[in-house]
């Protein structure tokens, strides 16, 4: 457990620091356009991607940074893309909204609510036909309000394709969730899983702040899907990070501090309360309590991560913008015009 546990901690930390870097770049007017960060949900991507094989496909949303990092994407190429530079995965064409990495099985990312669900279902069809791999779709709770969700559940179930639907419900903590609030789901269902369950898609829920529970859940569900069991749906219950409640991401209480996991408190009430639901902090405290690592080791790990991300940001900023002529490239793929 300890080596794998440390790796997962390191991956979560990397996502946290990457997202903080994005916010810093935006504040410095270097990251243009709207963007979304994955702070508070890091454990989901890390645990889910740990259950995947290289031939699997993942599909994400506008909140995709964590999914790509957990899949092993290069922070340099991601940041360069997010900044619209030629060194990015899509040489500046996608920005943050549509990040993709073909070589990692991330063929395309839709920034439309529910937009990736049919695509992921089709990828699963390709997996079934080729006998290789599975598809995983990450999406938020609002996707259940789209017809695309319902239609995708139907065809995934009718075709019995190998797909795991991972709904990251990052609404306000369940007890406090208020229907109709801008940031939360307005779906009139008691449990999100009731909707796919009604279509015979086996569904369950898991605590998005509990890494061990998610490791078990995703390992089991991906094995079922891989074994030909058809689609599965899982609701990951996350609590919305206070910095995501505003229209633009902010860092309430500043960047995350290791000290907060060792008795310190952020100078922000909402943040102090939310930290109990922070998967990173919970996992860190658990590993420390189990004696897997001590504070000095955490600090060393964090310093290395911060250094990597700062280096990535530097390289991304050094990457030139694409030439204007690039606007005309990649409208169509090359092809032969006759049989």
């Amino acid at each position: 457990m300890s080596a794998a546990g440390l790796q997962q901690l390191q991956e979560m930390l990397k996502i946290r620091r990457f997202e903080e870097q994005c916010i810093a770049l935006a504040r410095a007017d270097k990251l243009p356009g709207h963007y979304h960060v994955y702070i508070g949900q890091e454990a989901t991507a890390v645990a889910a991607c740990a259950a995947l094989a290289p031939e699997d496909f993942i599909f994400s949303t506008w909140r995709n940074h964590g999914h790509l990092l957990a899949r092993g994407a290069s922070p340099v190429k991601m940041l360069a893309e997010i900044l619209g530079r030629s060194g990015g995965y899509a040489s500046g064409k996608s920005g943050t909204l549509h990040l993709s990495a073909g070589e990692l099985g991330v063929p395309s990312t839709s920034a439309l609510v529910g937009g990736s669900l049919p695509l992921a279902t089709g990828a699963a069809l390709a997996c079934k036909r080729s006998g290789k791999g599975i598809a995983v779709a990450f999406f938020g709770d609002a996707a259940l309000e789209e017809g695309a969700f319902y239609e995708s559940m139907i065809i995934a179930q009718v075709w019995q394709v190998p797909i795991l639907f991972i709904c990251e419900n990052n609404s306000i903590p369940p007890k406090e969730r208020k229907r109709g609030q801008y940031t939360s789901s307005t779906l009139p269902a008691e449990r999100l899983g009731d909707v796919p369950q009604a279509l015979q898609v086996p569904s369950e829920a898991v605590d998005g702040t509990d890494v061990a529970a998610m490791n078990e859940c995703f390992a089991r569900l991906t094995a079922e899907v891989r074994g030909g069991g058809g689609p599965r749906f899982v609701e990951v219950c996350c609590s919305r990070w206070p910095g995501n409640i505003m229209t633009w991401p902010e860092l309430p209480g500043g960047e995350w501090q290791i000290d907060w996991a060792f008795g310190g408190k952020p100078d922000h009430e909402g943040m102090a309360t939310w930290l109990e639901s922070d998967p990173l902090q919970r996992y860190l405290k658990k590993l420390v309590a189990a004696g897997t690592l001590d504070r000095a080791q955490v600090e060393a790990m964090d310093a290395a991560v911060l250094k990597e991300i700062a280096g990535a940001a530097k390289l991304a900023l050094e990457s030139p913008f694409p030439p204007a002529s690039d606007a005309y490239r990649h409208v169509f793929a090359a092809q032969e015009a006759r049989l």
Binding site: F57, S100, I155, F332, Q335
Partner: protein, 326 residues
């Protein structure tokens, strides 16, 4: 070999299934409600039913699944049924398929074909008569193929299923099913993106596609027999890519133009062609061109009302005579 348009479609589907195991049919009602033509699909159903998927009435997700499967190595054709139903799938067709190659910076491509039977088919009324090629032409990244003859129904569909590397909307017209063409087995197909001169002429150019191709041919015959006019008929074959070069060459030769198209007048296919001629071929014109198109009204059910709006050979002839100053 002489084949009908419907036979061409069925032959393309069968041969593509036989040629490439990645070809998969998401829906397979290629012949719509035409029970006679449906029989043509029987060999494919007999031999390849394992590659024909059961399809719930979920156009949006079926289109999206076609895209997803295409991105991940398959060559799907999604049968959307009546052309109007593409609106149900629009978010996936226009906002996913069309953008994938571009927004991935060329990393991914989606060689998926969206097949539909579109157009004013007789008593389809407003919701089953939509022609969407003009609005689809406004979506960069989509190929829009509109065969107007059996030869192209066969070759273009087969090309989509076996060779295309891009998302394509394949728009058939059910009133074309009985049109026939000669196909020479040893002749290479006309490249996609190149218009076909269906009939040579020197007095005027009639630019047509899909259902207006046989109607333009009928009009050209009347013009020849009754009026001594030699009309050239240009069959576009595809709206995207649009073969501007062949259009301009024909206009340079004849100096007079009628554009016959079944889309609505405003912002339509004919409007784009007229704009191209105005920009790049204005000096060739010896008279103002005329668009014979569908008025900007929904398609009514009642037969005389639909006929009022239909692009007929007679309307094309009348426009031609007007352009010629007769």
């Amino acid at each position: 070999m002489k084949i009908t348009f419907a036979e061409g479609l069925a032959k393309a589907v069968y041969e593509s299934l036989a040629a490439d195991p990645r070809v998969v049919l998401i829906g397979s009602s290629f012949m719509g409600l035409n029970m006679t033509a449906r029989k043509l699909m029987e060999p494919a159903v007999r031999d390849y039913s394992d590659r024909m998927l059961v399809t719930p009435v979920s156009e949006l997700a079926l289109a999206g699944a076609g895209i997803g499967a295409a991105m991940c190595g398959q060559r799907p054709v999604v049968d959307l049924g009546t052309g109007s139903f593409i609106y149900q799938a629009f978010a996936q067709v226009a906002n996913e398929a069309a953008n994938i190659h571009y927004m991935s910076g060329g990393q991914s491509s989606a060689p998926v074909t969206f097949y539909c039977l579109a157009g004013m088919r007789g008593m389809g009324a407003a919701q089953h008569s939509q022609r969407t090629q003009a609005m689809l032409g406004q979506v960069p990244g989509l190929q829009v193929l509109t065969p107007g003859g059996a030869d192209d129904a066969y070759q273009l569909l087969k090309w989509c299923l076996l060779k295309s590397q891009n998302p394509t909307v394949f728009i058939c017209h059910s009133l074309l099913f009985t049109e026939t063409s000669e196909i020479a087995a040893d002749e290479p197909m006309l490249p996609v993106g190149q218009a076909r001169i269906r009939r040579q002429g020197t007095d005027l150019s009639i630019i047509a596609s899909s259902i207006t191709v046989p109607r333009a041919m009928a009009a050209a015959e009347i013009l020849d027999k009754k009026h001594g006019v030699a009309a050239e008929v240009v069959d576009l074959r595809s709206i995207v890519p649009l073969d501007r070069e062949t259009i301009l060459k024909s206009v340079a030769k004849t100096g007079r133009v009628v554009i016959a198209d079944e889309c609505h007048k405003s912002f339509g296919v004919a409007a784009e062609i007229a704009a191209t001629i105005a920009e790049e071929g204005f000096s060739y014109l010896t008279a103002p061109l005329i668009r014979v198109v569908v008025a900007d009204v929904p398609i009514p059910f009642s037969q005389p009302l639909e006929e009022e709006l239909t692009v007929s050979p007679d309307k094309i002839v009348a426009a031609a005579l007007k352009v010629l100053g007769n």
